[in-house]
Subunit: 342 residues, 2 copies
DNA sequence: ATGTTTTGTCCAGATATTTGTCAAAATACA
DNA sequence: TGTATTTTGACAAATATCTGGACAAAACAT
């Protein structure tokens, strides 16, 4: 009653044996027993014959601990930290640790690329996702996105351009990777309380791979993202801004044609800016853009108003991140209340 | 054997006795009985004299469990996993009945539609996925797909056609729903050991919503699916068949143009069929198709070779399911088993 | 470099739990 | 009639798990 979103008592019926838990979490049985002996974590229920019974919540907590463990934290500390947090929901939120994308290529990740590519070309989607899952277990998500998914997507795109790949294969691979990216995007933690970033492809632009990767990175850093995907008509820009008051709109263009079409964007925003007399002080969003078109023909950037976000995804991400940081700083100075979370 | 039952059309529900099932699956009779006694699996029908009658679906489920068993999984766990999805598929299967359309799905699910639509139009993707997650917790996945996602997708598409919706809104909603569908597709259980079903949009066709829903349903019923998504060029058909030897290829076309383009498919398969002299006895895949184009202009179906899968997703799923059942049945038993003569 | 703490793994005998098989009497099927 | 099937309980083999101690590798502090 006092808490508006108290979960409707998910009575955890299904209980897991230690073997199942070991398989799910990847923590050996012996370790699970030792943890309980030494740290009293987790506090398992028992059968009549003293066999351990793990609840679903416990499995979640163990997954959290395992993640910290893989990140190098010591078991005792991770367990202690986990015991502090009472709620499983809090645990789920903290699952992802934002890491700044680094520029060091991990040799293990380079191997992963080859394996992933192999699985994709063999139409073995399940194997591909398994490979990515394992990579995530050992490395930061951001690193996997930038150093594995990115290069593999690029390789596939290039092979396809050169005619070395059937379209069907390209379709399949792209779908599997896109699916994984969307998956990660959704699994990322709850966003900050800022006006969202709108991500869209330029008009007529159909390639959304890099936009998705950018989306995952931003989401990982807890920025709220509204993902619009392929071929956004500029005509809608005004209504869009009215609806969601984004702090930032990012366009991506791969082909010269869509980049040129993109240049028209001010027409659809300025007209609207005059129409509304700023009864509430609506701040127009910042417009940024990027994509291969602007790398191959740098002159294009001159014709497109707004901010060029950079040549690589990592670069674009960092620039956006900085802009958003500044925006939140301004907002807090203004005295706006941010959501108070304990 | 030579019974006047010469209608080799698949009977509604061929039923097997326990001896036949034991021989087909390789599971001893005693074990089959114990499984039913202990796990209530499968829930067999009975003759007047209490003899067990196994349906074709049950035999398939038993084969799946046997496969897991041979991989080392415990019998109890394998059966439990199988039972999890049994309900969901049962719902989808029951939907094939052309009973009165006023068969209200579930008032709760109808409410869910409205809530989902509201969240999507407000650009609150997180709320939308939360709503769907909760719906899944209370209802079968297949029901949520068919009775919530489907209608909402249709409503959005229609509003968009009538110009009542900005393209940006449509893009956003479609992306969120697609993301959720891809998610479910991946989470579904490991597939049977059959040649996969290839799912693709017709050439130039970009609307993949219904294809995704079909994909989820098939995956839920444990059929292996290779999802290719938008706009598959027919040119690649030959190479595709060579690579993955699909048992079935399904195309979806929403517009008349793409439906007409689809009509050309035999050119790209027959050429290939003659080229290879069947050194290994390659069986060409069955080609099926569906989509709004064929509903609005039924004449189109005359120009497109292959099998028209039906007017609704549930109907298409039902037909594909039956085709695949027959394929596996044919492969499993070379000799004539007429156990279910009743 | 050295000493201390942490941490995962292994061992071995004892229990628990799961799971397939069997027996026997009764009934159904063809 | 003879074969097939059902039911129930019992049983033994196969697996999983428990306990507590010992130990070595790794991490850490000095």
């Amino acid at each position: 009653m006092s808490n508006p979103h108290s979960t409707d008592l998910p009575r955890e019926r299904p209980l897991f044996g230690i073997g199942a838990v070991a398989q799910i979490t990847g923590i050996p049985e012996g370790t699970l027993r030792v943890w309980e002996r030494r740290y009293h974590f987790p506090q398992t229920a028992r059968t009549r014959g003293r066999h351990r019974l793990y609840s679903q919540d416990m499995v979640l907590q163990l997954l959290w601990v395992k993640m910290r463990l893989d990140q190098g934290m010591r078991a005792g500390q991770a367990i202690h930290a986990c015991q502090q947090t009472e709620r499983a929901t809090a645990v789920a939120t903290a699952l992802h640790q934002p890491l700044p994308p680094s520029e060091m290529p991990d040799p293990q990740l380079v191997d992963t690329r080859a394996m992933l590519l192999d699985a994709l070309l063999a139409y073995e989607g399940d194997r591909a996702t398994a490979i990515l899952d394992e990579a995530i277990a050992r490395h930061a998500l951001a690193a996997v996105v930038l150093d594995v998914v990115g290069p593999v997507m690029a390789a596939i795109g290039e092979s396809w351009c050169h005619g070395n790949l059937e379209v069907a294969t390209e379709h399949f691979a792209t779908n599997v990777l896109r699916q994984q990216l969307l998956n990660w995007m959704q699994a990322s933690p709850a966003p900050y309380d800022v006006r969202p970033v709108v991500l869209a492809c330029a008009p007529e632009e159909l390639h959304e791979g890099s936009l998705l990767m950018l989306s995952v990175l931003l989401r990982l850093a807890r920025w709220p993202v509204v993902y619009l995907g392929q071929a956004l008509p500029l005509m809608d820009l005004g209504a869009l801004v009215d609806r969601i008051h984004p702090s930032l709109i990012v366009f991506v263009a791969m082909s010269e044609a869509s980049a040129l079409a993109l240049a028209e964007w001010p027409r659809w925003l300025e007209a609207r800016g005059e129409a509304q007399d700023a009864q509430p002080p609506i701040t127009l969003p910042i417009i940024g853009y990027g994509g291969r078109a602007f790398i191959e023909k740098p002159d294009l950037a001159r014709h497109v108003p707004g901010t060029l976000l950079g040549a690589t995804i990592a670069e674009g991400y960092q620039r956006i991140h900085r802009v958003l940081l500044n925006l939140t700083a301004l907002r807090q100075e203004n005295g706006e209340r941010t959501a108070g979370s304990g």
